[in-house]
Symmetry: C2
């Protein structure tokens, strides 16, 4: 059997291509895959030079253009046809690679995945799913920004895809699926939410009712579905708060020699916490619904985070996630509209 090939956008992320290359090297060493670095050949080759022991399962595909973080998504995908995002996703479309990973412009990855690779049969809109660590376990939140004005059916499809993801990739048998709302009671929410609630109840999924913002990090539910606007706000709020707590804690810990000593003694505990809550370290966010595996990594990803995103891609391919999602969508469609 040929080795699985995963394309990595070498030009994506805050310190490209260095971090992407660092992640690719780690992934190539740890996983039975070939990593295809897509981007400016010269810049990638220069970055690779700092690794004397370069693994053999790495290759480069040249892409002369770069979609910048501030570029308008759809327009840049249409204009920069030779960008690393476009060329990487063309490789995916032509099945020359089995997955694509990028820490670049999220909107551009969503647009290019949809426009170039297309969606799985029956899927109306792709959704960005992110696995967040919680007190009682991980929760997959979907959608965090691909689709900011969805219809109820889109959320049902997110629930079906999220359920399949948790079953196949996370390995949990019957995931508890919840709907993000402003209260627990069935009567809460907008008309959009109430309609979605009804569809989820009848979906055959293990629907656990409404979740609130406070459940996103409680680990009470395995999957929480939401519109991309609320999901994006929730995710970025969490990032911001985690950062604020970090800044304020550091400031407090510096307040006296005693607290400084305490902080130094407790440093392993802080490192442990950072590992647990830093979801960037948990790997990339799969763009579920694309006809091929497309993974979005955080723009501030470290080499390790890039490697973990590649691992998410690898696991998604290995567990045939898309086949399971299509099965679930097909079954639902037959059941809902017989």
């Amino acid at each position: 059997m040929a080795m699985m090939k995963i394309a990595l956008d070498a030009m994506g992320g805050d310190r490209a291509p260095e971090t992407a290359v660092a992640g690719a090297i780690r992934a190539a060493r740890e996983l039975p895959i070939e990593v295809v670095l897509v981007g400016r050949e010269q810049a990638i080759a220069e970055s690779l030079e700092s690794y004397p022991q370069r693994p053999a399962n790495l290759s480069i595909v040249h892409a002369p253009e770069v979609i910048e973080m501030h570029d308008a998504p759809v327009a840049s995908v249409r204009k920069k046809r030779e960008s690393s995002i476009n060329i990487g996703l063309e490789l995916l479309k032509e099945k020359r690679v089995e997955a694509f990973v990028s820490a670049g412009n999220t909107g551009a990855v969503v647009s290019a995945s949809t426009l170039l690779v297309g969606l799985l049969p029956g899927i109306e809109r792709p959704g960005i799913a992110i696995l967040l660590p919680g007190v009682k376990g991980d929760t997959l939140l979907i959608d965090v920004g691909a689709n900011i004005d969805p219809r109820p059916l889109h959320l049902v499809q997110y629930a079906l895809m999220g359920d399949a993801y948790v079953r196949c990739v996370v390995g949990k048998a019957r995931p508890a699926v919840a709907l993000l709302n402003v209260g627990e009671e069935e009567t809460k929410g907008t008309d959009f939410i109430k309609e979605t609630y009804g569809l989820l109840e009848a979906s055959g999924l293990s629907f656990a009712g409404n979740a609130e913002g406070r459940d996103i990090f409680s680990g009470e539910f395995d999957v929480i579905v939401c519109d991309g606007f609320a999901g994006n706000v929730a995710l970025k709020t969490a990032e911001s708060l985690a950062n604020a707590i970090n800044v304020l804690l550091k400031r407090s810990l510096m307040m006296s020699p005693v607290t400084r000593l305490g902080a130094w003694l407790a440093r392993d505990a802080f490192a442990q916490l950072r590992k647990e809550v830093d979801y960037a370290e948990h790997g990339g966010a799969p763009l579920l619904g694309v006809n091929g595996v497309s993974i979005i990594a955080h723009g501030a990803s470290s080499g390790k985070a890039i490697k973990n995103a590649i691992r998410v891609a690898y696991e998604s391919v290995r567990h045939e996630l898309n086949r399971h999602m299509v099965d679930a969508i097909t079954l639902y469609a037959q059941h809902a509209h017989p």
Copy 2:
């Protein structure tokens, strides 16, 4: 001049009436006001017995019924006419008190404030505003759940009211107002957001453009307006994450004798942080737009948090917040529809 009277829902909050009474005692000692405890007279009197030095500027108004946390808001306000929320807000309507504070059922306080007291002239919907601590300063987020399906004009009114609040109560001359969105660029967001953006640009406020979830705790903006659905999700997500970090940090700090010693030495720093990030301690959330001052405190409020919520009520009355809000709304209406 007669002393300012502020009614406190003695039956609201997780440990009513004990915490409410504790907060009332503290407020009566610290502020030049009379606190009117509204609720079951007997229970309040029993709670008061544990304070031998009871301040004179405290009184009780009997209310035999209690709206519970899980009661349906509108229905319970209509049915439980003798509840502490209804009776407290009747006192406000009849101008026998100048403000009302409750840590009870938020939905019921919103409904009862709107139905019984009514809105300020020109205001279409009330909005819950909450002052959140951030790295660079505080940010007023409005609305966090009173109005989950607003129209663009509602958000403009929230912006005008939030701006007045920051000027009058926080004391900042020209607040920077932003619109919560999924990206910084003007072209981002749903049609609802784009329409709101245009109205805010033309509002005469110091409109700073789009904010993202990550700005809620950055302190970059003085006021961030949003629909109540996204605001509620953001706020509860933040609560949940702060709680998760707390649990995980404690767990990490127990990992070894060395980290436990470090944690003990650094305990003052943790206490300082808790004080800074615990927005419940910062006081209640004003329900802006009501024709009278109505303040919502967190259900889990401590006595100190209740006292701080009463202080917010006191400051709002003292600075004639409502007059300033009406002026702003009137000016906007003349300017927008001359």
